[in-house]
Symmetry: C2
Subunit: 181 residues, 2 copies
DNA sequence: GTCTATATTGTGATAGAC
DNA sequence: GTCTATCACAATATAGAC
């Protein structure tokens, strides 16, 4: 069974994704995690530390993802676009959660995202030997994350304005090849 | 002189951009606008209506921008990438403000942004006669806005990870030409 | 480790004077 | 149209029992 700490972070993500940052109060998170507020506070003595916990989780998941990106058989560019779509993976959820946290005034959230973005760009530039192409592809990935942050969870509802289906992904990957080639 | 209503909306934007959604309380906005809370409430009887006012402002500015985009001499694709960079224009400020509002649980904010995005995609697809290229370029613009939302105002500080300078813009526009051509 | 109070502050909103 | 109170409530955090 997952540790209470992890279950609380899961609940925090869940509320952030489905109801937004404003609704992610200690009460709401504790309730969703199935513990009392006091129980939550035992694991995360302050709300800042709860946010810090989610940032740490995201950073760890990002390191694993960067490794997969570097080692990808189809190349980092294609891997990056493929994985930038919102598919509800643990990484996706943590990323969107931290992105939403930013608005709460948590400075660490911006710094965490910025560090991850820097890493992606570096991997792309190294693999492609073309800074301009790397920038362009990085922007496309950011665009996909933009859609995720403004569409994931409850807010998603009626499908986005960007390609998320398999056909659209193939078309997008062809554009990537065109930029790279 | 700008109407009190406009000055309050300006102040609302300013606080949203520099301190985040959480800090954009009625007190903070009133103080920044140079009026009392009661004075603010006279113009915007509730916080939802204040948010509504900013969404309306953004929608109006977006309509003007869409017109310029359609009429652009260099074509909508280049215009779109050029204007998606954060340059602190009234449109940029309203857009980032509304984007930050979203996290506050204001449903109208998401809907407003989604409508604008749909419009952009439509203009691009119509002009390029190539849905895949339109999608890709739209994503690059979203990426630039992503950077803006996570970098504008006080949070900007140390320069982003994406091209914002003139050299980088030129490189980006070359990639756009490559996608379109 | 988890719980039930409770204290404290901040926030949105109302009422009514000027 | 703008102001000064003031209210009601929600949110973080503390204290201490079990």
């Amino acid at each position: 069974m997952a540790s209470a700490r992890d279950r609380i972070l899961d609940a925090f993500e869940e509320v952030l994704l489905t109801e937004g940052e404003r609704a992610a109060t200690l009460d709401a998170v504790a309730s969703r995690a199935g513990v009392s507020k006091g129980g939550l506070i035992y694991h995360f003595p302050s709300k800042d530390l709860l946010a810090h916990g989610l940032c740490e989780r995201l950073t760890a998941l990002a390191a694993e993802d960067a490794e997969r990106m570097r080692a990808s058989s189809e190349g980092p560019a294609r891997y990056y676009i493929r994985s930038s779509r919102y598919l509800g993976t643990p990484f996706d959820r943590a990323f969107v959660g931290v992105a939403r946290l930013h608005q709460g005034g948590v400075a660490e959230a911006v710094e965490t995202i910025r560090t991850i973005e820097r890493q992606w760009l570096e991997i792309l530039a190294t693999a492609l030997h073309d800074d301009d192409a790397a920038h362009a592809i990085k922007l496309m990935g950011d665009g996909l994350y933009f859609q995720a942050v403004y569409g994931a969870g409850e807010f998603a509802a009626t499908g986005g304005t960007t390609p998320q289906g398999d056909d659209d992904l193939d078309a997008l990957l062809r554009v990537v090849d065109k930029i790279v080639g």
